[in-house]
Each structure stands twice: as structure tokens, then as C-alpha cells.
């Protein structure tokens, strides 16, 4: 049941085609629906890993990407300064996401129900290189401080 719910939360944004089409991120929804929401900076670029505890039925699959982030500010629930996040390799479709060293990102994740990994997708992140992401960051700050 947990796995089904997990898959539903993430597959909801997945398109039929390989290209990834994402709904616009909303601060209220992120804080309500995601396990963790942070502003973070990538500590090195994403690396390809083999997830030993996973099988191909898992949404990410055995081949994933691992990225280490330093948390700049915690909007929801990480409670730690460094986080390791798993994503799909972008070339495999399925809204994979790859990060480069030094990129600053509004990052939301779901906790994997059995492996407890922090999982993200291209539809769950927003790069802080535009005013739209800046406004999202301000909304997250405002709402999280009220809660």
C-alpha cells in the first residue's frame, strides 16, 4: 500500500512520452505533500549509482543518481545540514534529474517507503536561476515560518 501511494505521488506528473512535463510548483502543495522541502546547494555533481536494495519494480530502479546537498534553509523536515538525494538518470526518461556542483535549488523529496531514501524528480525541484523560483522560495519561507 505504501509503495502504491509512493508511486502515485510521483507518477502523477509523468507524461506518456519520454519528455518530462511538470506542473508548476506551488509552495502550499510542496509543504503539504512532500516529506522534505529545502533550499540547498549541490556539493559536487550527481553520480550514477547502483541501488542494491532496489529492484526494477521500484520507480527509480537499480540505476539511480546520487547527489549530496548542503542545506541552506530547511522549510520542512530534514533537520540536517547535509542530505543525500536519489533521482532517476535523465536519459532514462521518467522525469530524471541531474545536478551540477554549486547549483542552488528549491528541492522537495519523498521518502522511499522501504529504503527510506530521499527521492526527487525533475518535477519536484526548481533551480534558483530565475525570478519565478525566487518567488517560490519567498513563499516557502513565509508559509514555513507561519506554521
Amino acid at each position: 500500500m505504501k509503495t502504491l501511494l509512493f508511486l502515485c505521488l510521483f507518477l502523477i506528473n509523468l507524461p506518456a512520452a519520454i519528455a518530462c512535463s511538470c506542473a508548476e510548483l506551488n509552495a502550499d502543495e510542496l509543504l503539504r505533500d512532500r516529506s522534505a522541502v529545502v533550499l540547498a546547494i549541490a556539493q559536487g555533481s550527481s553520480i550514477v549509482i547502483t541501488r542494491e536494495r532496489s529492484d526494477e519494480d521500484d520507480w527509480v530502479g537499480t540505476t539511480g543518481m546520487l547527489t549530496t546537498f548542503k542545506v541552506i534553509t530547511d522549510y520542512k523536515s530534514t533537520g540536517t545540514k547535509i542530505i543525500n538525494v536519489i533521482s532517476n538518470p535523465p536519459e532514462l526518461g521518467r522525469c530524471g534529474a541531474e545536478f551540477k556542483d554549486g547549483e542552488v535549488i528549491v528541492l522537495s523529496t519523498i521518502e522511499h517507503p522501504t529504503t527510506f531514501e530521499m527521492i526527487t524528480t525533475a518535477c519536484s525541484v526548481s533551480w534558483l536561476d530565475n525570478s519565478k523560483t525566487y518567488k517560490l522560495m519567498m513563499e516557502l519561507d513565509s508559509i514555513s515560518k507561519r506554521q
Partner: protein
């Protein structure tokens, strides 16, 4: 005694070589600078020859185009070009790279050339909670002024 004197000179020369910066607050940034923005370098800084060379920048300086993410004071455009001294260490020069990430920049207008000039003391990278808090203060002060 000679060794002691030499050591003292070395210490003082190290201090003079390093660029020492005063702590900036959101209030001082908005009060003292002509331009305050959060941005990202669109390309690496490029050296160029200036039309004058008798000010502190000298005849050669660095030019960097920035994409403005948030305008706290006076950019008014989606893109702004900022001038900085070539980085020799002691002169508080700075050179930016496209992959440097998100940076909070303050700049002052050169009254003669109208160039927007920054230095290593006038920029802070968004990679720590302290810089994040500074952004929040800038945003709050801007909201109060509107």
C-alpha cells in the same frame, strides 16, 4: 632580534596583502550601494581596456554580465553588467565564472564613467544560512519601502 623583526614584517605584509572587508548588513547595502541584486553570472568575467586608467580600477578591469534573479535596488532590468578590479589579491578584485552559482551583489556607480563597480567585499555567494537570512532581510526592507 633580527629574526623577530623579520617575522613582524612578514606578519604585517600578510595583513596588507589580504583583502579585509567590513561586515555588510541589509540596511548598509541598501543605504550605501547604488545597485543591489541577487544574480547569476551569464558568462565568465572578461578583461577589457577602460577609457581611463587613473582611478583605483586601473586601465584593465573585468566585466561580467549577470542575470538578475531578484532586484533589491535599482537594477530595473533582467540583465546587468558589473565591472570589477582584476583580482590581484590585495586590491579586493574579483572575477566571476558562469558556474559560480547564485550571488548577492552590491555595486556603486563610478561618477565619471557611469560604470557599476563591485569588489570582492561587495559580493556574497548564496551557499550559507547567513546569506539566506541576508536575502530575507533585504526582501523585508524592500517590502517596507514599497
Amino acid at each position: 632580534m633580527k629574526i623577530l623583526l623579520t617575522m613582524c614584517l612578514l606578519v604585517s605584509s600578510t595583513v596588507s596583502i589580504a583583502c579585509s572587508c567590513a561586515l555588510q548588513t541589509a540596511e548598509s547595502m541598501l543605504r550605501d550601494a547604488d545597485l543591489v541584486f541577487l544574480g547569476i553570472a551569464k558568462s565568465d568575467s572578461q578583461a577589457f581596456q577602460r577609457s581611463i586608467d587613473d582611478d583605483w580600477l586601473g586601465g584593465t578591469a573585468m566585466s561580467t554580465p549577470f542575470e538578475v534573479i531578484a532586484d533589491y535596488k535599482n537594477t530595473g532590468f533582467g540583465e546587468v553588467n558589473v565591472i570589477s578590479p582584476v583580482d590581484y589579491g590585495a586590491n579586493c578584485g574579483i572575477e566571476f565564472k558562469k558556474q559560480d552559482g547564485v550571488v548577492l551583489v552590491t555595486a556603486s556607480k563610478n561618477p565619471v564613467t557611469n560604470e557599476m563597480v563591485t569588489s570582492s567585499c561587495s559580493v556574497t555567494w548564496l551557499n550559507t544560512p547567513a546569506t539566506y537570512n541576508l536575502l530575507m532581510e533585504l526582501e523585508a526592507l524592500n517590502s517596507l519601502e514599497e
